[in-house]
């Protein structure tokens, strides 16, 4: 699904959180969003998901202006933080809830979950634990699986590698790349982990003070050097 951003601006008091004149993400792209804390990554995601009001500008998800209808929610999956999960349910109940409200049958759910068995590492499903009692990493896994369950054409994940152990980080990387290949979905991922971002994202946008200061082509995985220079790694 194509995303078009036009003259998008959001400020919190004096601080400019997002200020993007024109930005386009093509259908089927995996875009990595990097930047220091407070650069505006999460705010941009929230604007794309219509969770906060822009001071000006528009975001188009496909042909739909996200502020005007809710149609885009049918093809968009997202996980930003804890507020995307209902923590008094067990993971089984929660995923079943998400499946049912999005019209996925129990059999389809069972099949769909098979893909995530390796990622969930046998620590989530069938545990009779409430989500609030899971570790931060496992909670994050539940949120990510729920976001992908709907087979969205647009998938938005904010810091998906956070809290995950190295095996799970690799598992989610593989999952995202395969998912993109299989479905042609657009994937937006923000992360502070440059290696992972470079590994899976053919295109990387670097944010600073709400502005996209560099739009890096990473098809040949050459962005690492540029990003390391920017973030003053090894200096």
């Amino acid at each position: 699904m194509e995303i078009k951003i036009n003259n998008l601006k959001k400020t919190f008091g004096e601080k400019v959180a997002v200020d993007i004149e024109q930005f386009e993400i093509k259908s089927g792209e995996i875009l990595g969003l990097v930047g220091n804390n407070g650069a505006g990554k999460s705010t941009l995601f929230r604007l794309i998901l219509d969770l906060i009001k822009a001071d000006s500008g528009t975001v188009f998800n496909g042909d739909v202006n996200v502020t005007e209808t809710e149609d885009w929610k049918q093809w968009t999956g997202s996980y930003i933080d804890d507020s995307f999960v209902i923590d008094y349910l067990t993971p089984d109940e929660y995923l079943q809830f998400i499946a049912r409200i999005t019209g996925i049958t129990d059999d389809q759910l069972k099949d769909a979950l098979k893909k995530y068995e390796h990622f969930m590492a046998g620590e989530i499903m069938g545990q009779k634990k409430l989500i609030r009692n899971l570790s931060a990493g496992n909670k994050q896994k539940v949120g990510i699986v729920a976001a992908m369950l709907l087979q969205p054409k647009l998938l938005i994940l904010d810091e998906p590698f956070n809290f995950l152990d190295p095996s799970s980080q690799n598992a989610i990387k593989r999952l995202l790349v395969e998912y993109n290949k299989e479905t042609g979905a657009t994937i937006l991922v923000s992360s502070h982990n440059l290696n992972h971002t470079v590994d899976i994202c053919p295109r990387i946008a670097l944010l600073e003070n709400g502005r996209i200061i560099r739009d890096i082509d990473n098809t040949d995985k050459s962005a690492e050097k540029e990003l390391e220079n920017y973030f003053e790694i090894n200096q």
Binding site: I52, K73, S83, F97, K128
Partner: protein, 500 residues
Amino acid sequence: MNISKRKLSKMLSEHEELKAKRHPMFERNRFVKFLAYFMVAYYSAILLFMGVMLPMPMSHTYHGVAAFHVLDGWFFIIIMIDFWLRFILQDTPVNQTRPYSLLPISRKFLMRRYLINAGLSWGNLYWAFFLVPFAFLSVFRSMSLGATAGWLIGWWLLIVLNSYFYLLIRSLCTRNIAWAMLPFILHAAIICIATIPEHNVLDMPCTNFMYGFAKLQPVCFIAVIAAILLMVKLNEKVQGIILYDEIGKKEETEVKNASQISWFNRFGIVGEYLKLEVKVRMRCRTLKMQFLVLIGCMLLLSGLLYFTDIYDNMFMKSFICLYDYIVPGMSTLITIMCYEGNYMDLLMSRKESIRDMLAAKYYFNSALLLIPFCLLIPLVVIGKITIWMNLGYLFFTVGVLYPMMFQMSAYNKETLPLNAKLTGKQGNGAQNMVSIAVMFVPIFIERASVTLLGDPWGYILLITLGLTGIVTHQRWINFTYKRFMQRRYTNMEGFRATRK
């Protein structure tokens, strides 16, 4: 510790001030701040008024006995009210010391400091609004200024003792809620001992004890101060243990009630949200408690009318029966969406999920009203109320009051914790105002309707009005949903800012 205890104590006091000043509810809403101050002033004025007005009639009723003796004979009532009010208003030292527990500050020092502050708190002087004028119009008139001061200091010491007893119980409740039964049983026993015999048998010992303060008898002061010191020591011990418990807390992680509640599947997507309504009440402490209190309240109100004849006049009967129906809505719908604020981003990222949720809430809360309906049937059988009245209230609540209360979903924007301990601070000023309106406006509509049209036509009118709301529920839920969506940015910002 490199910093002196005095400096540290000052710094901690500053933190406490900032905590109160920067509470998200106050920071964002000047009206709530104003309302909070107004309510304090309002209740102070009421206490002051009572303190001035009561001595004379009390003395008169008891054939010239000085009013303070009369009050002293029942002093435990004030102590009990003070105790239970603290559950709403007072935090525990454990909650206050936890943020500092991993810093290089002696935990003993922190605990002692907070315990001393709890005793010396201005809150323990709140009853002075009542007691000071009362003392001057009663103790001072029959004794002396010294006696007045002694009597007042005695009262203050008792309130301080009560505050430590509360802290002890409140802290023990964090380990096991059953500890709340201890003061409940104790207070119930005292009330029974005082009220069941023809004369208050506690009158004489209580009066003599309190008189000791007025007569400045050291033994009375020493006894209470000793009890306070004992309570402080006990608190220190218990709070210390609980602080360790809290820091290393491991919640029981296996869920016992992982039922599918598959009966709700027949309702499709709305059924899924109905399951949430049930599960949130089974698994989240705040709502579980709220639900139990609600059931208790409904049983109490119905029982009051069934077993006694003290409220047998028409107005009180109507008020209590109607209140029986209003209580569920008041406890759950005034704060509608506030608990969902915890996972609002999820709801907002699914198409029309808020509308389905509102519908589920309407069905759930309407079904809940079958409880008061059934509880009031025995009253119909014994002829205290008519079936028309019972039906009238049921339909009026479901079809008229609920649509009104549901409008709060478009305006509530404060996330409430799902697992607050016991009675956390819940509801803001605006919600409290709506609660008051919901409590009193319906009774006037009901009385006007029945007075004008008589029984049963007044109730038939209520049923008709209710049916209109029920038949059109899809439309007004849609309207409410649209209103919510119009205000979504403001509300989402509020939910996010108050989420913990």
